[in-house]
Subunit: 214 residues, 2 copies
Amino acid sequence: MAPQPHLIPSRSAKRAHYDKETIYPILDEALFCTISYVFDNKPFSIPTAFVRYENKLYIHGSVGSHFIWELEKGVPVCISVTLLDALVVAKSAFSHSVNYRSVVLFSNGVKIDEAKLKADVLEWLTNKIVPDSWDYLRPMKDNEVKKTTVIAFDIDEASAKVRTGMPNDEEEDKPLPIWSGIIPIETIRRDPQPDLLSQEIPLPKHLMPGKLIS
Amino acid sequence: MAPQPHLIPSRSAKRAHYDKETIYPILDEALFCTISYVFDNKPFSIPTAFVRYENKLYIHGSVGSHFIWELEKGVPVCISVTLLDALVVAKSAFSHSVNYRSVVLFSNGVKIDEAKLKADVLEWLTNKIVPDSWDYLRPMKDNEVKKTTVIAFDIDEASAKVRTGMPNDEEEDKPLPIWSGIIPIETIRRDPQPDLLSQEIPLPKHLMPGKLIS
């Protein structure tokens, strides 16, 4: 299927991808997205956690959040996700770049009212951010689900943009004795630090250090 | 000065800050922001590098970028910056949170035409992303500055939101033998990897590993 015109970037269009095999892994690795919407003809953006399941992206928020009130109306949103992989250091500042994987998604939110799906989304979201943690935690209460709004977004109008590899220096710069290459960037989890209530509680297996996240 | 109403979050307003002493360091630590604007009544968002200097935030882009064409018109933008510091793991999923430092800025872009300021911005931006690198690189050429658009945004309508510390579990959950605490998150630079042109070129001092970025 040909991408809609607003999904085609005006710059570096060869870095653009429209297939789910590229888009889904980026959405599954990133913990946070930035959601933009229009209010009173002006743009508003908010960072928030999200989880993908099948072809939908889900967010949650308080029933008292003005942001959530807007999104649950189904207004158009633009959801942006960016993973930074490396700084690309060229021989000239002009040829500097970054290696990244990003997704931009246009959609309209639909509020989820069905209690089972709401609870499922909260479980998926919790297990995405802290893998395998849901079954270990104190079970969710009905009134907690009621205090939470869950909104779904179809992933139909989406594009990914990906840069990998080394710098692309200008031909005339290539002989210069100036170091060029990449500086990989990683986002890592440090050792968990217990609060005062948990000094004597063994760290559960799923929280053992060493896992990488973005 | 009291904040404008649209800068006051509807949730966790006690986490909001409006002083430059809080806002500037967040902008100076983050390498990338997400810029949102309205086109044809719909929201568009793009991640981009930026640098702050005095009370302005600067971005750059190709003179051929449609995104840059819109922003240089001075349309209203919402610029969002987020630094993730820790996952906050409570005894219930409902009390989970994250420690973060974020800034939301409303502004209108102004295109910078003055060559000296444009070149200065490109130097500030390069030195922000790779500290102390500008003087080491092949000097910028006039035609490279001409191919680049620089846009400035006043930092007048901005708010920061910051969460720090341990989980806030419900009183009735506190005695539960469930581990609670924080998992610090860090974004780090790995050792630089030279490209094929730079196998024999010594790594300059400013690229030596060990520096932390976000």
